[in-house]
Each structure stands twice: as C-alpha cells, then as structure tokens.
Amino acid sequence: MSAPATHLFQAKPSFARTAEKGVFWLFRSAAYLVLLCGALVFADIVIKGAPAVFTTTFPFVNTVFLTEAPESLYVFEHEGAKREMGDREFRAFREQEAAKAAAQGRKAPEIKATSFVYSAGGIFPCIVGTVLLVVGSMTIALTLGVASAIYLSEYARQSPLVSFIRLAILNLAGVPSIVFGLFGMGMFVIFLEWNVSLLAGWFTLAFMVLPVVITASEESLKSVPKGFREGSLALGATKWQTIRKAVLPYALPGILTSSILGIARVAGETAPIMFTAAYVVRDKLPWEGLQHAGDFFFQGVMALPYHIYVVSSKIPQNEYTERVQYGTAFVFLFIVALIAATSIALRNKLRGRYKW
C-alpha cells in the first residue's frame, strides 16, 4: 500500500480535530445504543415467541394458538411419561382412563396434575377483541378528528378562540392514558351505565388518539397547495365543493397513513381499557349468544394487551407458562410492528409521490 499523498494544504493532525472525532463518536454511539436496545427487546420477544406461533411442519403456523380460546394447562405424569394437556383434553383423558379401569374392574387411577391457568389453548378471543376495539375507536376518532382538522385548516382564521382550541389539543395529547381510563370509567361505565363494554372502550380510546389524528390530518390538509383551492373557487365552486373535490382527495392518503400510527397506539394501550372494555377471561366470542343485535356493543371483550398483562403478572414464570407469555407478546408485537412499519413505509413513499 502506498503512503497517502502529502501536499501543501493537507490538514495537519491537531488536538481539536482528534477531540472532534472523539465527540462525534460519542454522539454516534448514543444513536446506535438506542437502536441496539430496541433491537435487543425486539429480538428477545421474537426469538422466544416465534416457537409458540410457528411450527416446523405444515402449515408452519400454530393454528391452535391462533384460533382457540385460552385454557388451563395440566401437567402430570402418566405411566412414566410426562404429559401436558389442555383442560378439555385432560377431562376426556381422565374419563377415558376411568372407563378403561372400570372395564378391567380396577379402581379409577387418580391423576395428580399441576395446573397453570391460560397456559394451553390459544389467544383467538384476544385477537378478535383487539381488532374490534381498534376498528371501532379509529372510526370514531377519524370522523371527529378529520372534521376538526378541516375546520382548523380550512375555515378557521387566527383568533383567540382557535388558539385556545389548539392549546386544548396539545394538552389533551399529554394526558396520561390511565387518566383516560379513569375518565372512561367515570363517564361511560358509571354515569352512562354502559358498564364494561365495547362502546365504552371505543370512546375512551378514540378520545385518547384524537389529538394524534387531528394533528396528522391538519398537517396533510395544509400540505395541499393553495393553488388547488384558489383554482376551484375561481371556477365558481362553493367552499364545501372545493374542500370535497379539490382538497380532501389529495390529503386523504396522508391523513390515513399518519393515522395508522394512531392505530398502533390504540392497539398498544392497556391502561384505558382495563376498567372500560377488557375482561380477564370470557368464554364467549363477541358474536356468540347475543339476544339483540344491540347487545353486541354492550359486552366486554378480551384484548391482547390486557391478556399479556394478566399472563405476565398473575401466573408464575416457568417452562410451561413461557409459551403463552412469549407467544402472546410476539403476536401482539408483530401486529403493532406491522401497523407501524406500514405507516412509516407508506409515508416515505407518499412523500415522493405528490410534488407540486
């Protein structure tokens, strides 16, 4: 290797230069340390959770875990072999053994089993509940939020009232989620007597993400060039026609992508639904056993984040419970990550698409 070229204006090594390099490395390591921590958490959940969800044989996905309700797990020794069974299977097995023993004229053998709640079966009701909660609350939040943003960006002029509204939106964004939970309990569950229900959860979550939706929508409405509105108005369209035909269609992709981040937040929150919508366990799926169609809205559901809280704090940690704990966390993280990644990717793509 040849020595680097030397010339008259070459920078001389100096203390300032070395110090600068050192400090820059400090900043760099701060940035990458953050990424490393995030990656560690992500990797741990994925590596330990994936075995619960994926299998090595066809269809490569553990369908039981994804499509069945949670059950208790029974662990016992039988004829020298260690066996693990879900609640229903265990009962059937016990009856079968008893029948076998009766046929042979013996007394039914007593099976001593250790049980772990929620550790067998799957998490299907939780997935359903989470999807219902997200869909309902985002519908409410988008309706209210987009309308509010249209007013703020299209109609409102600079006035004390408008700045007051903006202040309220900013402050609402900072309210802790547990306070939303208390509020939802006080207003929907107790005052309106909706009890623990989907509807109460929807409104609580919708109010919580509202600031996110409003801010995102306003930004994408503002990014539509003024010329579009002026051109439409000059052609004799009314204000509403202008908004509907010349502004909203161009802002809509932006509104939706930014709101997806709001969805990730709704799906991820536990505290607001703890007292308003979530049940620890419910053996019926939301569409089963309804007397009126209206009852659908007034029932509590199981939800993934709450299920994670329950299985990680209320049952011990060991080899038998680890499957459901890590598996649930993995599925949940996967869903949320998918939503967030979609939003980030879509936004990066959209940024390049509209140029005006």
């Binding site: 990424l35 509204i165 309210v175 509202l210």
Partner: protein, 536 residues
C-alpha cells in the same frame, strides 16, 4: 346615496332564472357545513372539560370522606393511642440499633479477631444481658398500648356498624319500605363515655412514664463498654440517642394533655393528609391512610432514572442524526427510532419481568461493579428496572422533538459560524445546540410527561411496594422497589368498592396526575414560545 333606498324606489327587476338557496335556520348549506366542522373542532375542548368534570365528580367527595375518616380516628381515641404507640415504636428503633451493634460486633470478632462464633457469643453475654433489660423496660407501656388498641378498635367497629345500619335504613326508606326502615335500630355511639376507659389510663401512663424515664436514665449509665474498640463511636451515638429519646417524653405528655376528642377536624386537614401524608395504607384493621407522598416519590424516582438515561441518549442521537450523520444513516436511524416508539408498553413491561430484572440482578453481582451504590440488588423488580424501560419509552419522544428543534435552527446561523472559522464541533456545541435549546428542553419536559403518565411498565416492573424508600444510604434507594401513582390506580381500581373512600382516593390520585401532566405540558409550551429564536 346608499343603494338600498334607490332599489326600493324602483320596481324590482324580474329574472328568468330564480336561484333559490337551501337554508336551514337562516343559514345556507355552506354555512351549515362550516358550523358542523366548527362544532367538531371544539371536541378537544369538550373532552378536556369532560375529563375534569368526571374526575371531580367521582373524586371530589374523597375529601369529605377523608375528613370523616380522620374525625373517627380522633373520636374513637385511635389518635390518642397512637401517641403512646409512637413512643413505643421509637424505643423499638433503639432496640434495633442495639441489635445492629451486636451484629457488627460479631462480624468484627469473627473476621478480624479470628474468634469462633461460640466464643464471640460468650464475649457478648454481658451485652446481650443489657440488651434484654433494655428491651424489657418498655414492657408496661407495650402492654398498655396493646390493651388500649383493643378498646379503641372496638369503639371504631361499633361506629362503623352504626354507619352501615344508617345506610341500610336510608336505602330502605328510599325504597319506600318505611316499616322495615324504622325497625332498623341505630344507637348513636356516645364517644365521651366510650372513650372514658382510655382517658382513665392517663394517670397510670404518666406514672409509668416517670418510671421509664428513671429507668432509662439508669440504663444509659450502664451501657456496657464497646465490645470492640471500633464500635466505641456507635455506642456513644446510642447513648446520645437514648438521652434524646427520654427528652421527648414531656412533649408527648404535653401533646396528650392538649388532645381533645371533641375537637373537630378542619377540612384542610383532609387535603393536607392526602398531599403530605407519608403513608398509603388501606384495608388495615387500625386506621387507613391515604397519603400520596410515597407514590409521588416512587413516580419521581422512576422518572429520574428514565430521564437520566433518556436525556443523553435521546438528545445525543438527535444531535448525531441532525448534524453529523450522513443522509443514508439519517434515513436508517429515524424510522428505526420511530419504530421503537410503537413498542407497546405492556410488552416492554413483560420484557422487564422476564429478562431485564434478572439480567440487572446478575449484572449487580459482578465483583468489579460492587463500588456502585446499591449493588448487589436485592429485589429483581425495582425503580431501576422500571426506569431503564421507561427510558426506552422516553427516548423516541425526546429524540423526535429535539431533532425537530435542531432542524428549525436557521441555516444562516451555522453558515455564519463556519464562515468565522469555527470547526464543526464548535458550531454544534456553541451555535446549533444553544439555538435549539428551548426546543430541546421542552422535548425533555414532554418526555417527562410521557414517563410520569406511563402505567403498564411501572405496574409490572417497579416492584409495587408502597413505602418511601430509605434515602439514608444515598443512591441505593434507587434499587428498592417502589409503587407509583399510575401503578396504584391500575392495580387497586379493580378491587375497590364503588363509591367508597378508597375508590375516591384513587380518583383523586387521577386528578393529581391529570393536573401534573397539564402543568408539565403547559410549561413545555411556555418555554418554546418564550425562548424561540425568531427566524428573520
């Protein structure tokens, strides 16, 4: 001349096309739409109002109930007994000091002087004898406290039963079943006569105090010489403590003399008992306390750990991405950190329980890290574990907002700095960061708001022990388990009776949190607005 009068004079012209406008309540369609959107815009304001209203609706009555709670505490004589109990507990603390002294002596003897355990115990025989006598001295007072505790509890129970009956009667009456309501017999508790047996012990107590004082004066003289020379200082300190303890007797007696069960509890006491109360004690057989201080301290400690980690990392990463990194690195790091912000907090909490707590404890047992305060860690779940995870939650918030603030620093500032011959590092530390400082500080404040309001991580990982950590050993307080304001609401709300004092206390904690977060938010906005550098 105004045109109106002119047109009034002329016959109105006729047109072929008559355009009619749709109107509702005198508003055109467009105006209606505007009103609709305007109404929606108020939704944020309305929600803030609703939150305030419903939190107060459920919580405000707490202060009345707490006042009642404190009144019963006084009227049933529990407060009176607690004076004595405090005296007894101070003595217990002294006994504990003695015990600790002995432990240190034993370890000193066995490790330094090479004695066996039996020999050490033999040498400490006289010390043990003294400790035994010291402990026995309090016997009469202890017995008295135990007896009076029973009496006072009985009075309180009686009162509570009465309250239940009253409630039952009211319910019956409101249901229209007057006959049954009248059948419910309520005998009001006559506190004066009930409390008489407690007050009657006063003379015996004073007499006992005199004996105690004399006894302790004697005992102070007899404190045995330190078992090992190293402990001489500790023994001297013990003597001083005992003297100070005896000196508190007259003030306790004075307090008890001034005590009157008829004195009413002012309402501000119910407030101050909540805001400055150092105990959160519920479902106890003696007296429930709702003091927010231990929870507030817990929240604060967890947040301090989180910010200690998140400020350097978040701001450092922001400076790196905005000022130093290449465009490709920027495109990689920014979405990744945004992605971290989407991690659900309950998953992070689970990670803390499953992995981080154990990992930190294993780390704390490494020998060459023993110089760190609080190491090795006793509890797996503590303020440090929760704080680390909350740091990870706060970093994306701080990073994004701080990066925005740096982005908003006018380009001309940087260019001028380079033109004057400053290096990149000088430009960053002396120009760009100071110019964006207001934004960075508000980013940190918003990060703090995010951390204080976070629930699931602290509920799962902070250890949930309701006590003010022991700060006497400095920073090691941070590895003790704590409980937080958000955590207590999430944990206890599911278990309390609706409408009870405990339930309302949790709502008051919620109100406190609500206004705390509003305050932090307000401050952050104020700082940005006040110190923003105008571009122009």
């Amino acid at each position: 001349m105004p045109p109106e009068t002119n047109s009034a004079a002329l016959p109105s012209p006729t047109f072929n096309i008559v355009k009619r406008r749709l109107s509702f309540f005198g508003l055109t369609l467009d105006e209606c739409i505007q009103v609709f959107f305007g109404g929606n815009a108020f939704v944020a304001v309305v929600i803030l109002g609703l939150i305030t209203y419903f939190l107060f609706r459920e919580g405000a009555e707490f202060f009345g109930q707490n006042r009642q709670n404190l009144t019963v505490y006084r009227q049933a004589g529990l407060e009176y007994v607690d004076f004595m109990r405090r005296q007894e507990q101070a003595h217990t603390a002294l006994t504990r000091d003695l015990f600790e002294l002995r432990m240190r002596a034993v370890s000193d003897m066995t490790t330094r002087q090479g004695l066996t355990l039996a020999e050490a115990n033999q040498r400490l025989a006289s010390f043990d004898d003294y400790a035994g006598r010291f402990d026995d001295a309090i016997g009469p007072l202890r017995g008295m406290v135990a007896d009076l505790t029973e009496v006072a509890t009985a009075i309180k129970t009686k009162f509570n039963i009465n309250q239940d009956k009253l409630e039952e009667r009211e319910q019956l009456q409101s249901a229209g079943r007057t006959v049954e309501a009248n059948a419910v017999k309520v005998e009001p508790v006559d506190f004066a006569s009930e409390i008489a047996p407690i007050l009657a012990t006063r003379d015996a107590y004073l007499e006992n105090n005199r004996v105690l004082a004399a006894e302790f004066a004697k005992l102070v003289e007899q404190v045995p010489a330190a078992p090992t020379p190293k402990l001489q200082g500790a023994v001297e300190r013990f003597k001083v403590k005992v003297k100070a303890y005896v000196a508190t007797f007259p003030s306790i007696e004075a307090e008890m003399a001034a005590w009157d069960f008829r004195k009413s509890v002012p309402l501000w006491k119910a407030f101050s008992a909540f805001i400055f109360g150092r105990q959160w004690l519920t479902a106890s057989f003696w007296q429930d306390w709702y003091g927010v201080v231990p929870l507030f301290v817990g929240s604060l400690m967890v947040s301090m750990v989180a910010l200690f980690l998140a400020i350097p990392l978040g701001v450092g990463a922001a400076v790196y991405v905005n000022q130093i990194a290449s465009l490709r690195e920027q495109r990689f790091i920014k979405p990744c950190i945004e992605f971290i912000s989407a991690f659900p907090s309950v998953v992070l909490g689970f990670f803390g329980i499953a992995v981080l707590g154990e990992a930190l404890r294993a780390l704390s047992q490494v020998t060459w890290l023993q110089w760190l305060p609080g190491f090795p860690i006793a509890e797996r779940l503590n303020a440090l574990t929760a704080g680390c995870l909350l740091g990870l939650i706060a970093i994306p918030t701080i990073f994004t907002l701080a990066e925005d603030a740096l982005q908003n620093v006018p380009r001309a500032f940087k260019e001028a700095s380079y033109a004057l011959g400053a290096t990149r590092l000088q430009t960053i530390t002396k120009i760009v960061v100071p110019a964006g400082l207001s934004g960075i500080i508000s980013a940190i404040l918003l990060g703090l708001g995010r951390v204080i309001g976070e629930t699931m991580v602290v509920l799962l990982c902070a250890g949930n022990r309701i006590a003010i950590p022991d700060f006497t050993e400095g920073l090691s307080a941070f590895v003790q388990p704590v409980h937080t304001m958000t955590g207590i609401v999430a944990q206890e709300m599911g278990e309390v009776v609706r409408g009870g004092i405990h339930y309302r206390a949790l709502f008051v904690v919620g109100i406190f949190l609500f206004f705390l977060s509003l305050g932090i938010n307000f401050l952050a906005q104020k700082i940005v607005r006040r110190y923003r550098i105008s571009i122009g």
